[in-house]
């Protein structure tokens, strides 16, 4: 489910089934050199999480990307986000990101780090198949966590 009013109504009535939160973590980089790749990573991350949401609509709640700047204190962010997620009462929380700095973060469980693939210049069908390949790599991680 998406983090939108309509889905949240359904979420509230079906809480026992929707036990997993997905939080995309997105670094904003507006420097001359980083802008393009930052935007590409954003596109990649959002397409991937949208596909994931479509596959597991009834079990995950997909949050909007949490965006931060390059210099953000990730340790503090990790604490804040995970404590907020705890309030939500989710049994499983996944963080998806293309930012390698989260990999070393001990306090966050289930950080899925994926290298961003620049999909911006691909044609539609090719992009679709690339993203589905990516999705296939992520799905088992979810199924493992659930089982």
């Amino acid at each position: 489910m998406h983090f939108i009013g309509k889905d949240i109504d359904q979420y509230l009535s079906q809480r026992e089934y929707v036990d997993t939160a997905v939080v995309p973590l997105l670094e904003l980089n507006l420097s001359e050199t980083g802008l393009k790749s930052s935007a590409g990573a954003s596109e990649y991350l959002q397409s991937l999480t949208a596909l994931l949401e479509k596959q597991f609509k009834g079990r995950i709640l997909l949050f909007p990307p949490v965006s931060y700047t390059a210099g953000a204190d990730r340790t503090r962010m990790a604490e804040e986000i995970s404590s907020e997620m705890e309030k939500g009462g989710f049994r499983h929380v996944f963080y998806m990101t293309t930012d390698a700095q989260w990999r070393s973060m001990e306090s966050l469980k289930n950080v899925l780090w994926l290298p961003a693939i620049p999909t911006g210049d691909m044609d539609r069908n090719f992009k679709q198949s690339v993203m589905e390949d990516q999705l296939r790599q992520v799905l088992p991680l979810f199924l493992n966590e659930w089982s």
Partner: protein, 168 residues
């Protein structure tokens, strides 16, 4: 001069009836037009979306067929890709919606190794028979929806979703 002369009274009567008639018609016509308009309205050229799946390649084993259409969401138009599970029963094409009737996940054919001839929803282990009938005792409450489906120039074309007609 003819014998049946029109009197001034008659002339005024005819004129007023005529003019009144035009005015009444002018008011009634649009009303009638509005009332029958939905019937006259033309549907878009075709509600079927052509896919790139050949009909001759389809067997009795359901395959996933993707189709893309434009969806307008208030001011935002986006291209949406949906998929359907398509298989043949005899010569008849059947397309089932992959959307689980429980909470809307995407179901997979033979997704559960223990039940190779059923659709399986990975979220809460919902299962459906091949014709879309939900397996009792699993979370889904109804059968999978069905799509209108037809063959166009040898390719599968997928239409509107409707309630499942295969299960009784």
């Amino acid at each position: 001069m003819s014998n049946n002369r029109v009197s001034r009274r008659q002339f005024l009567g005819y004129t007023l009836t005529g003019v009144g008639g035009f005015m009444a018609a002018g008011m009634l016509m649009p009303m009638v037009r509005f009332a029958v308009d939905p019937v006259l309205q033309q549907k878009g050229t075709s509600d079927f979306v052509l896919t790139d799946q050949r009909v001759e390649d389809i067997t009795e084993e359901p395959v996933r067929v993707d189709f893309t259409f434009e969806q307008q969401d208030a001011w935002y138009t986006s291209e949406v890709t949906n998929s359907a599970w398509v298989y043949k029963e005899g010569d008849r094409l059947i397309a089932l919606s992959p959307v689980c009737k429980h909470l809307g996940c995407t179901v997979n054919w033979a997704g559960d190794p223990n039940h190779p001839n059923q659709f399986f929803c990975p979220c809460h282990a919902g299962r459906y028979e091949k014709n879309g009938q939900n397996v009792p005792g699993t979370p889904p409450l109804g059968p999978l929806d069905e799509y209108d489906v037809q063959e166009q120039d040898g390719f599968v074309a997928i239409g509107a979703a409707k309630e499942n007609t295969l299960t009784v």
